[in-house]
């Protein structure tokens, strides 16, 4: 497709929508990080660099996002693989089953975890019935991770599955007929072809983790809060929008840098070419 007008026409609706309702508004707010009441200022950025809590929370956010997305991919990939081997009809039912929790607002799911994981919650009461001492799960990072995985796992499974269904089943069959064992066929043919979907899923998951807000606030301890919560405090409590903008800009830049780095590391490997971060 070398046709310029066509390209432009295809891009125009999305560019208009995202331009008007994302880029322009966001530039207005992000510019607050260098532009105050009295013109240009480095105040918010200086505040960011000097704020230990922001740096700690940023680091924590990336760490949490990384662990949760790795867990999601590791748990989700085999599930998607299982589903990809089923009949279309059965698979449709299972996709449907996996999506059921989506109907429950994240707010509600979070409260349900409180009841399940709590000090006198369902798990601890069960433990007590068998004579074990209670464990503190709620208000730890573990609780936040469990809830985040529960929320994000369907997304990863779905993304992996979509890419697996793209794979031409004939390829695997050909490999088998050429004498490959099932394991060989999987490792040499299926796995590389489906990795890109797993990577897309993992990256969507990672990016979504960075923005988590309700779950860490309600299920985590005081050291579990993530960057969104900190930004929220600046927007709602301190009304320090310049600082909030500086934090958001930092998050945006670091995230895009991470994605670019990932691209660089996997450059030339076609199985990762679907990362969405251009080619």
């Amino acid at each position: 497709m070398k046709n310029r007008p066509t390209t432009l026409l295809l891009l125009l609706p999305a560019a208009l929508l995202v331009g008007l309702l994302f880029v322009l508004p966001i530039l207005g707010v992000l510019s607050l990080s260098v532009y105050g009441d009295s013109g240009f200022t480095l105040g918010p950025i200086r505040e960011l660099v000097g704020s230990r809590v922001s740096l700690v929370v940023l680091e924590r956010t990336f760490w949490q996002a990384l662990t949760v997305s790795v867990i999601c991919v590791v748990l989700g990939y085999p599930a998607a693989f299982f589903m990809s081997g089923l009949s279309t009809k059965l698979r449709a039912y299972l996709v449907y089953l996996i999506l059921l929790p989506f109907w429950i607002s994240i707010l509600v799911r979070t409260y349900t975890w409180i009841i399940i994981l709590g000090r006198e919650g369902i798990i601890n009461r069960t433990l007590a019935a068998f004579g074990f001492s209670p464990v503190q799960i709620l208000y730890t990072d573990l609780a936040v991770r469990i809830a985040m995985v529960q929320i994000l796992l369907p997304i990863v499974v779905l993304t992996c599955l979509a890419s697996m269904l793209d794979i031409d089943k004939g390829l695997v069959k050909t490999a088998r007929s050429l004498g490959a064992t099932p394991t060989q066929a999987f490792v040499k043919v299926f796995l590389p072809l489906s990795l890109s979907g797993a990577a897309t899923g993992g990256i969507i998951c990672f990016i979504l983790c960075l923005g988590f807000y309700v779950t860490p606030a309600l299920l985590g301890g005081r050291r579990s809060i993530l960057i969104s919560n900190l930004i929220d405090i600046q927007v709602h409590q301190s009304l320090n929008w310049g600082f909030a903008a500086a934090l958001a800009t930092a998050l945006l830049i670091i995230t895009l840098a991470c994605l670019a780095l990932f691209r660089l590391l996997t450059r030339g490997r076609t199985e990762f070419s679907s990362l969405g971060v251009g080619r």
């Binding site: 230990r52 809590v53 700690v56 929370v57 409260y111 409180i114 009841i115 709590g118 000090r119 006198e120 919650g121 503190q136 709620l138 208000y139 606030a217 309600l218 301890g221 005081r222 050291r223 809060i225 900190l230 405090i233 927007v235 709602h236 409590q237 301190s238 009304l239 320090n240 929008w241």
Partner: protein, 348 residues
């Protein structure tokens, strides 16, 4: 034409109340005021008790919005396009909004012509809507029949063991810490921040969870997640009524006020004040307090309520006597600095 009328209203309408009133009768038919509140299930109650009768009486329609949000107020006043005509605000938000010039002055000649509202209810640019207390609630089944009586007991992890919870905000908590450290009720303000944080240090490890909203602290007590927590006075009595082993102590509670104010540049300030006046109706206010026990200072309302019920309200004399009045002015002045220190203290 409508726009022209609206613009006329905008120009110092509150000082031209009489002129505005004259114009109102002609324009009232198509005026809708936007009243911002906390929404949720309470919005229905407010609609039934205040908004619908008001529309019936005056022809002015009311559209309710939610939630209460200081950043929204800031954004709309700064942009010059003001969405709300009236909004709920809590005490320190009023102080900050008032200082920043985001609120219109209230015309008390209009909303309180007979001058019956107590002074405590009247600010230059906001009127008290409700009062509530942040007190401590506890499980009655956890301390072998003993009951914690003060913030000092709340801090006493030997005699009253078990996890506790406090709100995830410095507001109120610094005051409670000072009370626990033995500062008398009338010597809390100005807050000795260092001393308060030192006292909070003692309790930090016994607080697994810092609550974020009103639903959460109630649930924490119901689930037995904590044995004691700071809480708002209103949600514990329904728990008790259901037979749950919980109670509150008014001792050392923070009496807080919630206000109604008119954003600067509101499109219908005069109509908003008429609605404000309507909200001061004692009968409707009494009905409202029966549903949600956060009374305002509407004259004549208390007389319409059962004395036993009045005794459970934050402003009942015996309850008010053991509490301190939350000083929103001090917080408006110091919030930025203290919030920063709080974040460093709590989150690292």
């Amino acid at each position: 034409m409508v726009n022209l009328t609206r613009r006329t209203f905008n120009v110092g309408a509150s000082s031209l109340v009489l002129a505005g009133l004259g114009a109102r009768s002609a324009a009232a038919q198509d005026v809708t005021i936007v009243v911002n509140g906390s929404g949720g299930s309470l919005a229905e109650v407010i609609k039934k008790l205040f908004e619908d009768p008001f529309t019936k009486a005056t022809g002015i329609k009311v559209r309710a919005t939610a939630p209460v949000s200081l950043p929204k107020l800031k954004a709309m006043v700064e942009s010059g396009n003001v969405e709300w005509d009236l909004t709920e605000l809590n005490g320190d938000d009023v102080a900050r909004a008032s200082e920043a010039g985001w609120l219109e002055p209230i015309d008390y000649a209009l909303i309180d012509p007979n001058n019956v509202l107590p002074e405590m209810a009247k600010l230059r640019d906001a009127v008290v809507r409700a009062s509530y207390s942040t007190v401590f609630g506890y499980r009655t089944d956890r301390f072998g029949g003993k009951a914690p009586k003060s913030w000092a007991d709340f801090w006493d992890v030997k005699n009253f063991p078990g996890p506790r919870s406090l709100e995830n905000s410095p507001k109120g908590n610094l005051e409670f810490a000072l009370l626990a450290a033995g500062v008398p009720l009338d010597k809390i303000y100005p807050i000795d921040v260092d001393k308060a944080f030192a006292k909070l240090d003692e309790l930090k490890d016994h607080i697994p969870v810092w609550w974020e909203n009103g639903a959460q602290h109630v649930q924490l007590l119901v689930d037995g997640e904590v044995n004691m927590t700071s809480c708002w006075n209103g949600r514990i009595s329904p728990l008790k009524k259901e037979g749950k082993p919980v109670d509150i102590s008014w001792n050392g509670g923070a009496l807080m006020l919630s206000y109604l104010g008119i954003p600067k540049g509101a499109k219908h300030p005069t109509e908003a004040q008429l609605f404000l006046k309507y909200r001061m109706d004692p009968k409707a206010s009494a009905e409202f307090v029966k549903i949600i026990p956060y009374p305002g200072f509407v004259p004549g309302m208390m007389e319409l309520l059962e004395p036993e019920f009045v005794a459970t309200l934050p402003t009942a004399p015996q309850n008010a006597a053991v509490q301190f009045r939350f000083d929103s002015g001090w917080w408006a002045q110091n919030l930025d600095k203290v919030q920063k220190r709080w974040n460093d203290w709590l989150l690292i």
